[in-house]
C-alpha cells in the first residue's frame, strides 16, 4: 500500500517534470477584441508579464498578443483564421461574441489547435471556457450588505452590459441574495455597462424618483460613478459595493478615513487571462482530463485588506492577480 503510494507519487513527479519540455517548441497566440478600458489594459499587462516569463523560461516558444482594431466580431473571426494559417498550436481568446465566432473556433479545433476562451467566452463545445463564478459574487454582495446594513432597507441595483451572460449571472446571484435576505428590497435598477460614466448618468436620472436607499449592489466599474451621482444630487451616501477599480478603492479609503465607512469589493481579476494561458499550455502538454468549463473564483477585498493592495494598483487601473503555473494547476484541480 505504502509502496504503491510512493510509486504513484514518483509517477506524478516524473510526468510533471516532463511537462516543461513538451510544450517548449509550441506557440500560443492571444486573440483580443478590445483594449480601450482600464480592465482590458490590465488584462493585457498581466498576460504579457506571465507569458514573457514563460517564453524566457523555455516553457513555450512564443506567446504573441493580437488585438483587433475595433470591437467588430467579423474582424476577430478573420483574425482567428489568420492565426490558424500562421500555425499557432493554441489560441487564447477574449471573444467579442459568445456564438458569432463559433465557426472560426471550430475551424481552429479541426486544424488541431487548442482554443481557450475567458471573460468573453465562446460556446463552441470544442473550446475551453474559463469562467468566473459571477453568480456567487452577486449572492455574496447581498450577504456582505446584510453585515453592513443589518436592519435592511432599499437597494439600488446597477446592471452591466445588457444581453451578456455575465450581467445575467451577477443579477441572478443578487436576486438569490435578496430572496435569502427579505429585509432588503430592490427599489430601482439601471444599466451602468460596467462603465463609470454610464453608471453615473443612469443613477443621476433615477435618483430623484427613488426613496431613501441604504445600499447599492452592482457589477464593478460602476461604484465610483454611483458615488458621484449621489454626491451631485446631495443625497446621503449609501453602502456601495465596489469593483476593485483603483478609483473605487481610493474613494473607499477616503470615506473610511473620514467616518469609518464600510463596504466590500469584488470583481473578475484581469489576470484571469494568465490562467487561460496556463490552461492552453497544459492541454498542449497532453493533458486530456481538463474539463472544458472551468469555474474560477472572483477576486475580493474586505475592509481589512483593501488598503494593502491599493498602493500596488496603478492610478486609474484595476486590481489584478497573475496566476503562476502552480496556482493554475490548483485552479484546474478544483474543477475536477
Amino acid at each position: 500500500m505504502k509502496k504503491s503510494l510512493v510509486l504513484s507519487a514518483l509517477a506524478v513527479i516524473l510526468v510533471s517534470s516532463t511537462a516543461y519540455a513538451d510544450t517548449s517548441g509550441m506557440r500560443i497566440a492571444f486573440s483580443n477584441n478590445y483594449a480601450g478600458n482600464s480592465w482590458r489594459q490590465a488584462m493585457l499587462k498581466s498576460y504579457a508579464a506571465v507569458t514573457e516569463k514563460a517564453v524566457k523560461d523555455g516553457i513555450v516558444a512564443a506567446a504573441d498578443i493580437f488585438t483587433t482594431a475595433d470591437k467588430e466580431v467579423p474582424t476577430q473571426a478573420a483574425q482567428i483564421q489568420n492565426l490558424i494559417l500562421q500555425g499557432y498550436n493554441a489560441i487564447v481568446i477574449n471573444a467579442g461574441s459568445p456564438d458569432a465566432l463559433n465557426g472560426a473556433v471550430k475551424q481552429a479545433c479541426d486544424a488541431g489547435i487548442v482554443v481557450v476562451s475567458f471573460d468573453g467566452i465562446v460556446t463552441e463545445p470544442c473550446a475551453y471556457r474559463v469562467v468566473v463564478d459571477f453568480k456567487s459574487m452577486g449572492l455574496e454582495e447581498v450577504e456582505q450588505m446584510a453585515k453592513f446594513q443589518p436592519k435592511g432597507g432599499n437597494l439600488l441595483e446597477i446592471r452591466g452590459l445588457a444581453g451578456t451572460s455575465i450581467d445575467e449571472a451577477i443579477h441572478q446571484g443578487i436576486l438569490d441574495g435578496v430572496a435569502k435576505h427579505p429585509e432588503f428590497k430592490i427599489v430601482g435598477s439601471v444599466t451602468g455597462d460596467w462603465d463609470q460614466t454610464t453608471a453615473q448618468k443612469a443613477v443621476a436620472t433615477i435618483l430623484p424618483s427613488l426613496p431613501d436607499v441604504v445600499g447599492i449592489v452592482d457589477q464593478g466599474g460602476d461604484g465610483y460613478g454611483a458615488a458621484q451621482a449621489f454626491a451631485a444630487a446631495g443625497k446621503p451616501r449609501p453602502t456601495i459595493i465596489m469593483g476593485n477599480r483603483q478609483d473605487e478603492l481610493q474613494w473607499w479609503k477616503e470615506q473610511k478615513a473620514k467616518d469609518g465607512y464600510q463596504t466590500w469589493s469584488a470583481s473578475i481579476a484581469p489576470g484571469v487571462s494568465s490562467l487561460a494561458f496556463w490552461v492552453a499550455q497544459q492541454v498542449l502538454d497532453g493533458r486530456t482530463d481538463i474539463p472544458h468549463d472551468l469555474l474560477v473564483p472572483y477576486l475580493a477585498f474586505t475592509q481589512d485588506d483593501f488598503e494593502t493592495v491599493l498602493p500596488t494598483i496603478e492610478t486609474g487601473s484595476v486590481a489584478s492577480h497573475e496566476y503562476t503555473q502552480e496556482e493554475s494547476l490548483a485552479a484546474i484541480k478544483a474543477n475536477m
Binding site: N37, D70, Q196, A233, D247
Partner: protein, 315 residues
C-alpha cells in the same frame, strides 16, 4: 391666438413639448416626488449634448453629406489630453482646457484636410479619422482613468438654487451660437452654402474657408466637451464620448434643423437634449428593462421627429 400660432410654427417648439411631456409622465408616475431633482439632473447632463450638438448643427447645415462622425473619438482624446495636462493640479485648469480645445481644433482641421485635399466624402473621412484618433487615444491614455483636479471637478458640479452653473453658461453659449448663426457674415455664409453650394460660390462666398472653419469649430467644441465630461464624470476615458455619435445628430434633427442643410436653429438643440435626458429619466423611473428601454427610445424619437416634421411638409 396668432401668437400661439406663430409659436407652434417654430420648428424647435416640438422638442421642448416632448421634453415637458416625458417629464410630466415621469412625475405622474412618482406622484410629484423628485420633480425638481429630475430637472436639475437633466440640466446637468444635457449641457454636454448641447455643446456637441451645436457643433454638429453647424456641420450638418453645410448641406447634404456633411456630418462629423469623429466627435466621439475626438471627445475621448480631448478628455485624456485635458486631464493629463491638468495633472490633478488646479493651477493648470486653464492650460488643460486650452489643450483640449487645441486637440479638438486639430482633429477638426484634420477632418477637413481629408475632405478637401484627398476629396473623401465627409462621412467616410470623419469616420476613418475617428479610427486614427481612437488609436492615438488608446496609446496616449493607456485606457486608464485619469482624474480631474478637485477645483475643476467641483466647478462642473456647482449649483445655484438647484440650477447647475454649467447649464447657465451653456445657455449663454447657445445664445452666442444663435447670434453667430443668424447675425454674422460667417453664419449667413454657412446657411448660404447649405442652401446651394454652387450659388454660394458664385455669389462670392469663400466656400472652402467657411467649410474649414465649420469643421474646425465642430472639432473644437468636441474638445471642450471632452474636458468638461472628464471633469463632471471624474475621469477621462476612451469611451467617454461614445454616446455622442448618435445623440449629437439626434438632437440636431429633433431640434428642427434640416438634415438637408441650409436651415438651422439653436434653441431646438436645448429642447432636444433635455428631451433625451428626461426620456432616459422617465424610462429609468418606470423601471423598464434595458431591451424595452432601447426599443421605446427608438420609437419615441421617431415619433417626435415625425410630429416635428409634419407641419413643415404641409407648408
Amino acid at each position: 391666438m396668432t401668437r400661439l400660432g406663430r409659436l407652434l410654427e417654430k420648428p424647435w417648439i416640438w422638442s421642448f413639448a416632448g421634453a415637458l411631456l416625458v417629464w410630466l409622465a415621469a412625475i405622474a408616475f412618482t406622484r410629484g416626488y423628485g420633480a425638481g431633482g429630475m430637472v436639475t439632473a437633466a440640466l446637468s447632463l444635457a449641457v454636454f449634448t448641447v455643446i456637441v450638438g451645436i457643433g454638429q448643427m453647424f456641420v450638418i447645415t453645410l448641406g447634404p453629406g456633411n456630418v462629423d462622425l469623429s466627435l466621439p473619438a475626438s471627445i475621448g482624446l480631448a478628455s485624456a489630453v485635458a486631464m493629463k495636462v491638468m495633472g490633478g493640479n488646479d493651477a493648470m485648469v486653464v492650460v488643460g482646457l486650452l489643450a483640449a480645445l487645441g486637440s479638438g481644433f486639430l482633429v477638426g482641421s484634420f477632418n477637413y484636410f481629408l475632405i478637401r485635399a484627398l476629396r473623401i466624402p465627409p462621412i467616410i473621412a470623419t469616420l476613418s479619422a475617428s479610427f486614427i484618433i481612437q488609436s492615438v487615444d488608446i496609446s496616449y491614455g493607456r485606457g486608464l482613468q485619469i482624474k480631474p483636479p478637485p477645483g475643476f471637478a467641483d466647478f462642473t458640479n456647482l449649483q445655484v438654487l438647484g440650477i447647475p452653473v454649467l447649464a447657465i453658461l451653456t445657455v449663454l453659449f447657445a445664445l452666442g451660437a444663435a447670434v453667430l448663426l443668424q447675425r454674422t457674415i460667417y453664419g449667413r455664409q454657412v446657411l448660404a452654402i447649405g442652401q446651394n453650394i454652387r450659388a454660394a460660390g458664385l455669389a462670392g462666398v469663400p466656400v472652402g474657408r467657411v467649410r474649414y472653419l465649420t469643421y474646425a469649430l465642430c472639432g473644437t467644441l468636441g474638445g471642450l466637451t471632452g474636458a468638461l465630461l472628464a471633469g463632471y464624470f471624474r475621469g477621462a476615458n476612451v469611451d467617454i464620448g461614445n454616446e455622442y455619435l448618435l445623440t449629437s445628430i439626434a438632437v440636431v434633427v429633433i431640434g428642427g434643423t434640416s438634415v438637408a442643410g441650409g436651415k438651422a436653429n439653436v434653441p431646438g438643440i436645448w429642447g432636444a437634449a433635455l428631451f433625451l435626458v428626461l426620456l432616459l429619466t422617465m424610462l429609468n423611473t418606470f423601471g423598464v428593462s434595458a431591451g424595452v428601454r432601447l426599443l421605446l427610445t427608438g420609437l419615441i424619437i421617431v415619433g417626435v421627429i415625425t410630429a416635428a416634421g409634419g407641419p413643415k411638409s404641409a407648408r
